[in-house]
Symmetry: C2
Subunit: 441 residues, 2 copies
Amino acid sequence: MPESLKLGLAGLGTVGAGVLRLIEAHADKIAARTGRKLEVVAVSARNRAKKRDAYIDAYRWVDDPVALAKDPEIDVFVELMGGEEGIPKEAVEAALKAGKHVVTANKALLAHHGVALSKLAEENGVALNFEAAVAGGIPVVKVMRESLQGNEIRRVYGILNGTCNYILTLMQEEGATFDDALKDAQAKGYAEADPTFDIGGFDTAHKLALLTSLAFGVEIAFDQIYVEGIQRIAAADIEAADGLGYRLKLLGVAEATEHGIEQRVHPAMVAKHTPIAETFGAQNCVLVEGDFVEDVMLSGQGAGAGPTASAVMSDIVEIARGHIFAPFATKASELKPYPRAEMGGHAGSYYLRLTVHDQTGVIAGIATRMAEQNISLDSIVQHRPRTDIPGVDDGDEPTGPVDVVMITHETTESAIQKALAAIEGDGHVVAKPQMIRIESL
Amino acid sequence: MPESLKLGLAGLGTVGAGVLRLIEAHADKIAARTGRKLEVVAVSARNRAKKRDAYIDAYRWVDDPVALAKDPEIDVFVELMGGEEGIPKEAVEAALKAGKHVVTANKALLAHHGVALSKLAEENGVALNFEAAVAGGIPVVKVMRESLQGNEIRRVYGILNGTCNYILTLMQEEGATFDDALKDAQAKGYAEADPTFDIGGFDTAHKLALLTSLAFGVEIAFDQIYVEGIQRIAAADIEAADGLGYRLKLLGVAEATEHGIEQRVHPAMVAKHTPIAETFGAQNCVLVEGDFVEDVMLSGQGAGAGPTASAVMSDIVEIARGHIFAPFATKASELKPYPRAEMGGHAGSYYLRLTVHDQTGVIAGIATRMAEQNISLDSIVQHRPRTDIPGVDDGDEPTGPVDVVMITHETTESAIQKALAAIEGDGHVVAKPQMIRIESL
């Protein structure tokens, strides 16, 4: 019988407790499959006495995660604390330097320091595995690092944040406003008291940064991602999208273009009756397009104790089998610099919703501004008068402000921005125009 | 620089040619990622002179695939001939016995001889990889063999045959009859001149047999799969399903039940507005439910040169990296005997469509027969009179045969079969009743 694989686990929140439960439930099966018995030898967390969904008295307690990371008794350091700087970073570095394999769910840490940590892992001949850092239980890291190696990737994109998808689903299904849907998500524990990190798109951007490096063999470039959250999505947009055959999702997209790689996080419209459009609630999904495989989609639970523990275990099993990969598929020293494609060059169709005074000539004026930028329209719909624009007194006038919704043919981001600036300058709009990109599938 | 990985490729049809093109396109990238250069040293096929989508003159030609399989110069035998007996089987056996790794897309061979071949691979310390045998470009074998090892699997199911899904999609979208949709699929090259293998469900059953073994650690039991094809699906069923909120798909399902493992291939209704329901045309999808991961879905192209070549390459890359697995995740000698759950015990809801004379008392008679089997109904809808029942003269009578569509609450297969037999015995139905299982998602 070969030696057991000895684990040190730092971070005993929801996910850490889930990993302990999974090991308890399936250690025997995993030993039969991999030839190595998993053994948790020590654990660490901020507060030993905290009530948890796992029994931890069986394990040696270590106060300092950094000490645990280099503990002579462990083979694998499982980092489930989270956070991009400070103790988690120190601990992961210490583990790698001490020749320990590292399994982590820490997307923020990797989005900021992934390349440096990969170099450290490679220098020390150990694994740095992070399946749980992207899209919870969905095995997208393994699929990209292994299954799709025979492909040149064109685009990787998806719904990577369950909080936003929950909010958008609620707005769609119940006609809720953004604020009410957010409150509901907070009450149900899907959103934090300060929800900015999720609804502002930053969590999605962390995950996207990792997928981009895996897909294109480039350095991680988190701070070069265009990030726009879902805060400005109105019930009127969800409703208009529905009428036009679309669903609204917060997407993370990394795409190879002739100008470089676009990395963008923003609300987007996707065609109804497609698997991505039918990904609801807290589910995540990731789509990958390659030159041979064409397209592959993976979906599942993007968070939660069980799914995330399943992903952590996938990483541990890989180590138990003795399979060590370059963390981002390409050796860290050979990752190419990230070639950024500016958002101005983004090509696509756009949804525009302009709230305007219902007066003669307004539509003509708008159409002229679009034509000046060579933007042609696929459709234009004038909606019923609005009576809910804050600060706009529409009193009893029959001709209060109305919503004009347009879908453009393919154009560029810079053309749209120029046209919208000109339209705003003309004074026809009574509120900031809404612009949502349409993602072609 | 380590040695190149030397490949011998038997079978140069669509997939074989695709693999050669992929190697030409991406050999350098793969060498950089795996440390080994792929080199095709020899090829074999039935007819050397045949026109192909790949240039083969650069490779040594071997007439006999079995000779190629044990050629001293090759490390990996890539079997893309297909067929469950004869030369492909002999060649794969010869390769394994000669200590060559085998990569194959041959689901029929594995469904019939997978356990014996796995034993042979394990005895010789080589890989027997078959990602391309199940669901084309979708990386489901890797995901089950590696990513989901921390789970007890409850159910694995999906749309595993593109031909059937294409036919059902056409029936749904264009109201085509089954015969017309089949003719269209044949004209487009999606279906063979003799389509029985696809539309009868046998191709799906081959793939399901492999997934079942992977999921549950049991021996492959192809002959014990319940198989029902799509030949009896009528336009009326597609239409009724739509009205009731369902889509019709041919599913392969393997499910752990209290009576053992159910393995079944049959048309099934799945709820609309779910990713599986929105899997259209020649696309495939696979869903896996585990105790920790909850549910994971993978979808993509289930066939075709590019996607299948991508899957073959995933298997080759694994070998290039030196990662060798038990083919079915569990050592072949430790796979448990397959514990069959009989179809009679299958629990679920059912769709029934009975074509009956529009006479007083018929519905009451049917309802009585259902009640006798303790089957309760979720809904019952009487459709407009039918005028298209062959052999039934409905002339100008206002009261010709009508379709009665029922959805049952959960019951068992044997209860449904008994109720239907009794209803047929009563002489109320003018055609064989239609029964379609509803798969709960």
